[in-house]
Amino acid sequence: MTARARTRRGSAARLGLMALPVAFFALFFAWPVAAIVARGLKTDGGWQFGRIADVVTQPDIRHVLWFTTWQALASTALTLLLALPAAFVFARLDFPGKQVLRAVVTVPFVLPTVVAGSAFLALVGHGGLLDQLWGVRLDTTVWAILLAHVFFNYAVVVRTVGGLWAQLDPRQEEAARMLGASPFAAWRKVTLPALGPAVAAAALMVFLFTFTSFGVVQILGGPTFSTLEVEIYRQTSEVFDLTTAAVLTLVQFAAVGAILGVHAWTVRRRESALRLVDPRLTARRPRGAGQRALLAGVLATVALLLVLPLAVLVRRSLDAPGFGYYRALTRTDGGTFLVAPVHAVWTSLQYAVAATAIAVLIGGLAAAALARRDAGRLVRGFDALLMLPLGVSAVTVGFGFLIALDKPPLDLRQSWILVPLAQALVGAPFVVRTMLPVLRAVDTRLREAAAVLGASPWRVWREIDLPLVRRALLVAAGFAFAVSLGEFGATVFIARPDNPTLPVAVARLLSRPGDLNYGQAMALSTILMVVCAAALLLLERLRTDRTGEF
């Protein structure tokens, strides 16, 4: 066989792997989003692009754009400010309970936005802990949103930056010291430049997540504060102004595309050659007052910002005597739902299992195709495209599902699979991000060694790749599961009213007046938190720091 024939066969294998993910994203992502945009911008068979200018020049829309941007910038800055010291503490200090603390820090990242919303409402909202103690309320200010964003994204910075920091060879700094650099100069000249790309990548991820924030702002923003995503939701479900919604979707699409482009660039830069060592070898017991103070500060931040809101949430859910709010969840007489709210737990779990299976299949195939050595430029472009569902309005996707998938040949409006499909769309990028670095790290020569010993390509995958990535696969599945459980933006549109998922039920309870509804929302949020935290703690036992980017 000639080299060309072999290249052709390589492309064929890659195309085979890519076929399913491409079809999936085309059908359940591109098409619904396109349908929404067309519905908003196309009238009488013609495109009305002039409307884009009309919409974005409206004062209230410009206000939304401005707020979305500056709150994302402020959230990112605040998160970096609070989380970078923690990245250092986790990377370079060794202290008792470090593993537990690492898990605690990560829990918020996988918690559903509505849980965070509820928790901060219980802490800083009307009748919240601060209100009771000092009469302080933050839910009418932007601070509630910013703090909730820090709560979520603390782990992104700690993991991305701290993970790399822990693996940087301390001897590089020592070499600089031997050449006459002061400790600070050595850090600034050697460690900081090595960390730079990781800090940039983490900052961009935080910016992306906060720029497209929905659940948190929906619950904590009140009528005053509205991000693009919240505005899209408002325009579609309350004002029924599809044109404005479509334009805002396009604006968000463009912004997210730009952010992801920059992110892909920093990731490539991050792959530059660094001397990496085993993280266990770089951590030392804290020395000197400075390091101890830093450790204490990080512990205090974690306690106040990450643990306290969740503790208050649990406390609130227990306010009624004899687990009253929890017992209320099992009754149907609340009037908010047709079924007992606790039924949502079962619904959510079923959906999440189905969504996880789909996300792992689609994301796993895509990662396998992207990890191939012969991946060309086209495929690498697809790598970035796969991240788009993370940032494109979930609300748009959900509403697009209703519009695009409601007629033959694909009429899924009545099907239960609609919700898991939408959730898998958001989960699949996490699967790809987790699997890809691990698959790429598998030494090609191990595969070659197996082939020379007589293993066919399929046997090579089963005998070499699978055992090495099994752990990453489980971690990816866990992420997809947690993401599916917490998914709110798309699910709120397509979950059937008689069968809400946990986050949808929480949001609906919060939107009703009365202590009983509020208490039930807290109770249901607590249940959701426990399920997600359990899934995560299971993962923490499996994962190593090098597994994936999240």
Binding site: E448, A450, V452, L453, G454, P457, E463
Partner: protein
């Protein structure tokens, strides 16, 4: 057994393997010797089917291997850094090839035991590969490659990462083992000592081409050209004009053997062929440096005119740095290269 005809591999237009012709007979141990980047690893990968050829052909036992994928070629390859499967124990590593060939469990276990015995690691089947020393990993990798009874065994820098004493011991063991098993072997290395100790025949490669092929003794005695001579570690290589039994060189007129080729040539003067004599006879030189080599001292001489000259000298006769000495030459230790 193995035959390469015009085998060519290009990376981005640059030939890494350039129309290589090579025959390896059954039971023969051939060692490809060359500096890094000379294409020797690519040669092995091409034979194994891991690297497609851009031109030419590879045949095994008379059958063209074009289009035969790596796992169906029935050759063994021991990788440079062993590439043991980290998640399997020693026994499972050795048994891997047997499993791929559908050998039954009982037979497999027996063969694994037999092979571990053969490589000097009896009873190591349950050990984790991460817990093995470099030398032990090398033995396991050898057992793994031998297990499916490949018709051709290929070794890529088999002893490259081991320390010197272990390397010298293993080379002897390997040589004995291949002799006993009658295995056909194609090995590559950059270490001439290893190649000479291991091989029936040595093939020297340069820039993707074969520079010389012959028995270790032949290659050592008559390097094909200046490149091969320098690669073998000889420093005294100079241009010269040969007329009769005298060569005109930068070091003056040197005696050469009777049947030496005539005309403009390259001259190799072995260090053993440079005799040190009192300063008033022969070529006058200053001793620039001396390095202790265990059995002798290598003395670096700087003539008043011309390039440096290396001489091998018995320990007790070695002059000190800065001394002025004379150098005389021995025709038997001078080779006129083609």
């Amino acid at each position: 057994m193995l035959s390469l005809q015009g085998a060519t591999v290009r990376f981005g237009g640059r030939p890494v393997l350039d129309t290589v012709d090579l025959e390896v007979a059954e039971h023969e141990v051939v060692c490809v010797l060359g500096p890094s980047g000379s294409g020797k690893s690519t040669l092995l990968r091409a034979v194994a089917g891991l690297q497609p050829l851009d031109a030419g052909r590879v045949s095994l036992a008379g059958r063209d291997q074009g289009g035969v994928p790596a796992h169906q070629r029935g050759v063994g390859l021991m990788f440079q850094d062993h590439q043991l499967f980290p998640q399997r124990d020693v026994g499972a590593n050795v048994a891997f090839g047997l499993r791929m060939h559908g050998v039954a469990k009982g037979e497999r276990d027996a063969r694994v035991g037999e092979l571990l015995e053969l490589v000097g690691l009896p009873g190591a089947a349950r050990r984790a590969v991460a817990a093995l020393s470099g030398g032990e990993q090398q033995r396991v990798a050898l057992a793994r490659a031998l297990a499916p009874r490949p018709r051709l065994l290929m070794l890529d820098e088999p002893l490259g990462q081991l320390d010197r004493s272990l390397r010298e011991r293993l080379v002897v063991e390997l040589r004995e083992l291949f002799g006993r098993l009658g295995t056909t072997v194609l090995a590559v290395t950059h270490d001439q000592g290893e190649a000479f100790a291991l091989a029936d025949r040595v093939v020297v490669m340069r820039d993707g081409r074969i520079a010389q092929s012959g028995t270790p003794l032949d290659v050592w005695r008559r390097p094909a050209d200046a490149f091969v001579a320098r690669f073998l570690g000889f420093e005294n290589v100079v241009p010269a004009t040969v007329a009769g039994t005298v060569a005109d060189s930068p070091w003056g007129k040197l005696p050469v053997p009777q049947d030496a080729p005539q005309g403009a040539r390259t001259l190799l003067v072995r260090p053993a062929g440079v005799r040190l004599v009192p300063a008033d006879t022969g070529l006058t030189c200053t001793v620039a440096a001396r390095t202790f080599k265990g059995t002798h001292v290598a003395v670096h001489l700087q003539p008043e005119d011309g390039p440096r000259l290396e001489a091998a000298c018995a320990l007790r006769d070695a002059p000190g740095s800065g001394d002025t000495v004379g150098a005389e030459f021995d025709a038997d230790e001078i080779v006129v290269l083609d």
